[in-house]
Symmetry: C2
Amino acid sequence: MNAVIVGIDIGGTNTKYGIVSDSGEVLYQNKIPTQEHSDFNDFVIRLTDAIKNGLEQLPGDNQILAVGIGAPNGNVYRGTIEHAPNLPWKGIVPLVDRVKEILKVPVMVTNDANAAAMGEMIYGGAKDMNDFIVITLGTGLGSGIVCNGDLVYGYDGFAAELGHVTINPNGRHCGCGRKGCLETYVSATGIKRTVYKLLADFMEDSELRGISFDDLSTKMITESAHRGDIVAKAAYEYTGKILGSKLADTVAHTNPEAIFLFGGLSLAGDLIFEPTIRHMEANLMPIYKGKVKILPSQLQNQSAPILGASSLVSKYLTKKPSIKA
Amino acid sequence: MNAVIVGIDIGGTNTKYGIVSDSGEVLYQNKIPTQEHSDFNDFVIRLTDAIKNGLEQLPGDNQILAVGIGAPNGNVYRGTIEHAPNLPWKGIVPLVDRVKEILKVPVMVTNDANAAAMGEMIYGGAKDMNDFIVITLGTGLGSGIVCNGDLVYGYDGFAAELGHVTINPNGRHCGCGRKGCLETYVSATGIKRTVYKLLADFMEDSELRGISFDDLSTKMITESAHRGDIVAKAAYEYTGKILGSKLADTVAHTNPEAIFLFGGLSLAGDLIFEPTIRHMEANLMPIYKGKVKILPSQLQNQSAPILGASSLVSKYLTKKPSIKA
């Protein structure tokens, strides 16, 4: 009998799931479409059926020890997903209870960026770190904060929403209902908005002038910048300036050893890292200068979200956090 | 034989010390002048002599179990005070080693605001809380952050410098060498600067027009505001607006149950609490609204710094944190 852990990453488009061995090897992985299931119970049945099916594909006799789930607005204390703007289920859905009813093993959920931070700590670049932060740069900006070797969940389970610190209270409209949040500048969507702002403000030629907002992608901006396009390069400088200056504030909160950048934008390499580091250093108070590393995540691959979600529960099994409910 | 703990609070003017019982009762307290001792070793000898003398004044046979010290720029990992602008000793001084050599018991130091947070957790308003923040409003703005029931020291021991998050990169000059730090607006000195800015910008009559910058105190501003002085009231509104809007960013980091305000400015009651709460709520993202309490510290008295420093070491004796060095 082999004990395995299931890691699940619920995203707006797809839900990825994997079966992970004790040593962190992904033995099986697959995905189901999230958006197709407007009924939450249908979704859970489809997902758990898919997991059971995956388990049967594996050689030997395997038993699920626990399930870890990363999901937007996942609440670790209540086992719920709460008001996630990009998922089909409105309000609060009792994810942990439903999955537990069917699979009859311990189940944990937290937000996807917290899962990424756990993955970085157990399998990635933060293996020997007790104090670090992971910033996930996707459609929005998520984050997971680790202090004293533990994820910071906060009193209500919603810590580390760094995508929603304020850059400018009269700035860009945000999906959260406010204005000027960091993620409206620093994310795949944010850098597109920045390209369009620059095209509006300046008169320079740019190959991006021929592309509609809907068609524009981070990858296209990156490739343009590599070809020397002045607007694409300026968009990365602007993005790094905003990210770096706000990370200086974040360092003044938790004084991390390192901040890892994960996903989409972070794959642009120096284009994003160089201005981010430069502007963070320029804004750090003297006691922090030159001491905080900005690093690429070492889990930049397809299995990362699954490893992250499974490591959430691995850590729980070895060291129980103070879960309230 | 009674086991006692010594709590020490090193400030720019005075160093307060107290002998504290197991149950948190301050059995003896006194102070020595900090500024008189430009030589660090002289200071330590004077301080330890004073502590031994205090111990002899107590009835019965008392033995020191441990010493906890709160000091500006105190570093818990290295046992040092590092580059504290308001203390007479420049550079890095080996406080823990020197005190330990003389008293031959375990000694810990951390910054004064961390000590205040420990005091709040063990003796004050945060007794049942695992996730909270203490903001100390004195000459500057200090802070201590508690997550998952533990103080956040950070990788390098300098976490929670919320006085140095940036309000405006082109703003007021700060003692740390940068511009626009929170404490240049929100502190005893900050509100004086705000009064002077308002007197410069506007033409309204104010009883504060007759007082020099050097003579102006927080207490005078508070009393003027209570008498209805329009500039004094506007200065509190301005201070609360800046503090509240930045606390919204802080909530997005660690999602605390409560934020306690301690010291000087916090004694102004509604004058500071009402605008701080209003502007924090206005800037919180929806998932946090109405959930984070802003409260006065319950340790607003002379013994608070001593209790805070002693509780630092009490907690250490019952639950050892991961001290690196």
